[in-house]
């Protein structure tokens, strides 16, 4: 029973993670992670976009090219 509960909890966490990745909820966190990784590699200071700026920027990028098929 306990092992099933552990399995269910892990599965839920995994599912929630995938859902957030697929639908874009995690996009800002991914962006920050990328930015910090780049900063570590190049040693330069960074000024990340705010969540709102990042959201608007990502929409502008996504909807200025074909991103949906027929």
């Amino acid at each position: 029973m306990k092992s099933f509960a552990v399995f269910a909890r892990k599965a839920t966490v995994r599912y929630w993670w995938a859902l957030r990745q697929i639908f874009g909820d995690a996009a800002y966190e991914n962006y920050l992670r990328s930015l910090h990784r780049a900063a570590r590699q190049h040693g330069s200071p960074i000024t990340p976009l705010t969540p709102e700026e990042f959201y608007l920027d990502s929409l502008r990028r996504r909807y200025s090219q074909i991103n949906r098929c027929c």
Binding site: A18, I22, P51, Y63
Partner: protein, 686 residues
């Protein structure tokens, strides 16, 4: 184990192909499709990955090398599979198979399965690979660099043409689904304020919290579908939400213009999120419903309309089945997605196989389910819904008489009862495929949950689901089309090309909306329902783009020195060029006025000349003649463009083949990945 899967697939295909004595259960379709896909993925895609493309897991992808957290984002392969599938799966794999069901279930189903495995998946996979090796370059850029400058220009023009026709035809599907349907119209109208609420929520209150906002949006939409019944039952509200087809077309054109010019965060993006959620939910629900209900397919394997005299659209199985079903089998539009965002998000080269080949298999499966849902209807009902009034008449009696005369039994009361059951005034002449698919889905859903009492609710849920993501295609397509027009106008006038200059935005929005709006309105006025001419035109344009993609892919393979494996892309390319050229020729020059644009125009011109057209209808007939000739010119131009590209490509192939030096391949240089290389071999990955 793989032998067992292959045997099961062969048994499924044999049942679909040869079973004639007893009604066929939908389970056979699922078994045939799923097993064929599994075998194709395991062996054919592995062969392409290892031998043809030689995917290299040690090579850093653009996602790794250029990672900026915005465009280039290395992404988990399963997440990217979800992204890519959501991007490629639109209304096409639902509508195309539904229309092609007029030939019977066999031709369309076989084309969906075989076309996807040998053509569509290969195209998506190879183009994804080519773009990934070129830092995510678009199909147009690759055509310019690898084939010729003219080839690149043709690809860009083909994309613009396909956008215009696509937007018109999907708009027409929505018009035919919602005309004189207050419930459906109310439901869809309410999605606009719901999407705007979500837009404000995501922009100001909780930036980027897409799941949260979408969950609220989906709940509101479900409430909206239920409320629609009350609207339909209230005479004054029903009147307010009852639109004629021309009225609805004009509303859509105005809407498309507004959606293109409004800030993207307000309407387009939240509608896209809503649509994605509902699309994924509805597709899984349909799959689950078919597995649970296992409906019996009532359509024959081959209908009498295999001879080309079909009421849904004219033309024989070859080439028109292959034109009608594009998405779900082979779709050129996918090449734009495969050379768009997806190649910039691949984490490891080996993942291209799962994302490119695997996502297309999933879309093909959606197409097979749509075919099952359409063929689960009785053929009489299917033809009554999908035939225009010019062929079966506008009353239940005339439709029943005509369709029964074709050998498909239909009582007039059947259509009246069915319309009553789904809460519509009529289901006759609902061309376009969406309403018949919605009835098929509603039957499957209501067998699972709620029984006949919920049939009306399920029908309007299905209509809302189809219309919602068709409108998303319309919004997003108009906006992208606007950018393309601005790009072209920028060569003429610099300010018109500036993305931020508002007069330029309005002007280019008006141009692109006017272009697809013209074709949409033309379709609405067409006495044969519009789908008859517009859907084949869309199919031709889409398959031409697929031919462009496969020709570009063949050129790249040749430059890579893969002469032995050229057949992988060359065979589908030759097949598509043959299909599209034959279809284009027949659509332009066929002497049958139901099929040939010029024959139809000439027939109407002769009617005017002989005085058979009343004075009051002269202007309308003259407009129809112009439209038929315009369609002929558009088809001819598209065919000519592909011919030029094919000739350019053949010239390039001969040059490469006969040249002693190594051809110039425009790949990004090899950089070894800094991440831990996946130890699994390419063949076993995924």
């Amino acid at each position: 184990m793989w032998a067992a899967v292959a045997l099961a697939g062969a048994a499924g295909l044999a049942a679909i192909a040869f079973e004639r004595d007893e009604p066929l259960n939908a389970t056979w379709f699922i078994v045939a499709a799923a097993c064929t896909y599994l075998v194709a993925y395991r062996f054919y895609s592995a062969f392409i990955a290892a031998k043809v493309l030689a995917l290299d897991p040690t090579r850093a992808t653009p996602g790794e090398r250029l990672d900026d957290g915005r465009d280039f984002v290395p992404t988990n392969k399963w997440v990217l599979l979800g992204h890519h599938f959501a991007a490629i799966a639109g209304p096409g794999p639902l509508v195309g198979p539904t229309l092609a069901a007029q030939f019977g279930y066999l031709p369309g189903t076989l084309w969906l399965i075989v076309g996807a495995v040998l053509g569509g998946c290969v195209q998506d996979f190879v183009i994804l690979f080519c773009s990934m090796r070129r830092d995510g370059k678009s199909l147009g850029q690759m055509a310019r660099e690898e084939v010729s400058r003219r080839g690149g220009f043709i690809a860009q023009l083909a994309v613009l043409a396909i956008m215009v026709i696509l937007l018109a035809v999907v708009g027409l599907v929505v018009v035919n689904a919602l005309k004189a349907s207050p419930w459906g119209m109310f439901t869809l109208s309410m999605t606009v304020p719901i999407a705007m609420f979500m837009g404000v929520y995501l922009r100001f209150w909780r930036p980027g919290r897409v799941i949260e906002a979408s969950a609220i949006g989906v709940a509101l939409i479900l409430l909206d579908v239920a409320t629609g019944q009350w609207v339909a039952n209230s005479p004054s509200w029903a009147h307010a939400f009852s639109f004629s087809a021309p009225g609805l077309a004009i509303s859509l054109i105005i809407y498309g213009f507004a959606a293109s010019a409004l800030p993207v965060w307000l309407l387009l993006a939240p509608r896209d999120y809503l649509s994605a959620f509902i699309k994924v939910g509805a597709v899984f629900a349909l799959a689950g419903g078919i597995l649970l209900v296992r409906p019996v397919v009532q359509m024959p394997a081959l209908s009498r309309f295999a001879d080309g005299t079909g009421p849904v659209f004219a033309g024989k199985i070859f080439p028109f089945c292959f034109i009608t079903i594009a998405c779900g089998a082979v779709s050129g539009f996918h090449a734009l997605i495969s050379s768009g965002t997806s190649p910039k998000m691949i984490m490891n080269e080996a993942h291209a196989r799962l994302v490119g080949y695997g996502a297309m298999l999933m879309e093909s499966f959606v197409g097979v389910m749509a075919m099952v849902a359409a063929c689960a209807l009785s053929p009489g009902v299917y033809f009554a819904m999908n035939s225009p009034p010019a062929i079966v008449g506008g009353t239940a009696e005339s439709a029943a008489q005509t369709i029964s005369g074709w050998g498909y039994a239909l009582a007039p009361q059947t259509m009246t009862d069915l319309a009553h059951m789904v809460g519509e005034q009529t289901l006759l002449n609902r061309t376009g495929g969406a309403p018949s698919l919605a009835v098929g889905m509603a039957q499957i859903f209501s067998h699972t949950i709620g029984g006949p009492h919920l049939m009306a609710l399920w029908y309007h849920f299905a209509i809302m689901f189809e219309a919602l993501f068709i409108l998303t295609v319309l919004d997003a397509g108009t906006r992208v089309g606007r950018f393309m027009v601005q790009d072209l106008l920028g060569h003429v006038s610099k300010p018109l090309g500036r993305a931020g200059w508002y007069p330029g935005i309005l002007f280019s929005s008006a141009l692109i909306t006017g272009a697809w709006g013209y074709f949409l309105y033309q379709g609405v006025l067409d006495p044969l329902g519009g789908i008859n001419s517009l859907w084949p035109l869309f199919g031709i344009a889409n398959q031409l783009l697929a031919a462009v993609a496969l020709v570009v892919a063949t050129t790249i393979l040749l430059k890579m020195g893969k002469r032995k494996y050229l057949w992988v892309t060359l065979i589908p390319a030759v097949a598509l060029v043959t299909v599209t050229m034959t279809a284009s020729y027949e659509k332009i020059f066929s002497p049958d006025p139901h099929l040939g644009f010029l024959a139809a125009a000439n027939q109407m011109a002769a009617q005017i000349a002989s005085g058979a057209v009343p004075a009051g209808r002269l202007a309308e007939t003259a407009r129809l003649i112009f439209n038929q000739r315009l369609d002929a010119v558009v088809t001819g131009t598209l065919a000519l463009m592909i011919l030029v590209l094919v000739v350019e490509a053949i010239y390039e192939w001969v040059r490469i083949w006969t040249s002693s030096g190594a051809p110039v391949l425009h790949e990004a240089p090899y950089v070894r990945t800094q991440w831990q290389v996946e130890t699994r071999a390419v063949e076993g990955d995924g």
